[in-house]
């Protein structure tokens, strides 16, 4: 073990609203994956409900899978399915 690393976490849209924060710095054990970081976020942010929802993660502005190992200084974004543009007919609320 080489100790902790610092990463920046960003939330967007519904996730940001639920959590009540948009960005924070977090320390995770060296060797942690994106999945492990998300578990930490869920544990420390009980208002953030991810059960049964599709969520995306991006590391340094590129889409990432759960097993990616984080590096010192990584910027990790967590967000719901995107909905840019305007001609969409249905929405996922309900």
């Amino acid at each position: 073990m080489s100790g902790d690393i610092a990463v920046t976490v960003k939330l967007f849209a519904t996730l940001r609203q639920q959590a009540g924060w948009a960005e924070q710095s977090m320390r995770v054990p060296s060797g942690s994956t994106v999945g492990a970081l998300m578990t930490m976020i869920i544990e420390t942010t009980p208002d953030l409900k991810l059960s049964g929802r599709a969520v995306y993660a991006a590391v340094n502005q590129s889409y990432s899978q759960m097993d990616r190992v984080l590096q010192e200084g990584d910027v990790v974004a967590i967000f719901p399915p995107v909905s840019g543009g305007s001609a969409r007919k249905i929405w996922g609320g309900s």
């Binding site: 849209a13 609203q17 998300m38 599709a54 889409y63 967000f79 909905s83 305007s86 001609a87």
Partner: protein, 161 residues
């Protein structure tokens, strides 16, 4: 006009003449554009209801790099495409205002400008990190697009890890 950004997230009102100028060149005789415009009603599970206005939020740095990536994908698929520009507005938008503009310029109209323009809006809606919030007198709701199976994380994996 050559120095304007071709892929941009902006709070400014969008103009088709502006986006076309960003791809113009004496070599290109055909420009196709697409405008996504805020509609006056949205179909919900409970039927139609009026939209008062929309609010768009973006992960701007990543969104601009994804827009540029879509431009590169187009160059690969349609090598005759001369230039692509994609602009997405964020912040508050009123009904009738464009939220997204795409322009594709080619030497001739058969060189892929229509196909590439269609491709760009489909890809934008699938991968570019922008979210739409619909607002009415009595509330608001975040619109979520369809899940992209190849990109979305598995939520059960998150919960049980």
């Amino acid at each position: 006009m050559g120095e304007r950004k071709r892929f941009e997230i902006t709070t400014d009102a969008l103009s088709l003449d502006d986006v076309a100028a960003r791809v113009s060149d004496p070599r290109y005789g055909a420009i196709t554009t697409f405008a996504g415009v805020v509609r006056g009603e949205t179909v919900t599970a409970e039927g139609e209801r009026g939209t008062d206005f929309l609010h768009y939020e973006a992960y701007a740095e990543m969104a601009e790099s994804m827009l540029a990536q879509i431009g590169e994908e187009i160059q690969t698929q349609w090598p005759k495409v001369g230039a692509v520009s994609i602009l997405h507005r964020i912040g508050r938008l009123e009904i009738g205002e464009p939220s997204v503009l795409i322009a594709v310029a080619t030497p001739h109209r058969g060189d892929g400008c229509f196909e590439a323009c269609r491709y760009a809006i489909e890809r934008l809606k699938a991968v570019v990190p922008i979210w739409k919030q619909e607002n009415w007198a009595d509330g608001q709701v975040w619109v979520e697009g369809p899940r992209q199976p190849d990109l979305a994380l598995d939520p059960t994996e998150v919960e049980t890890k």
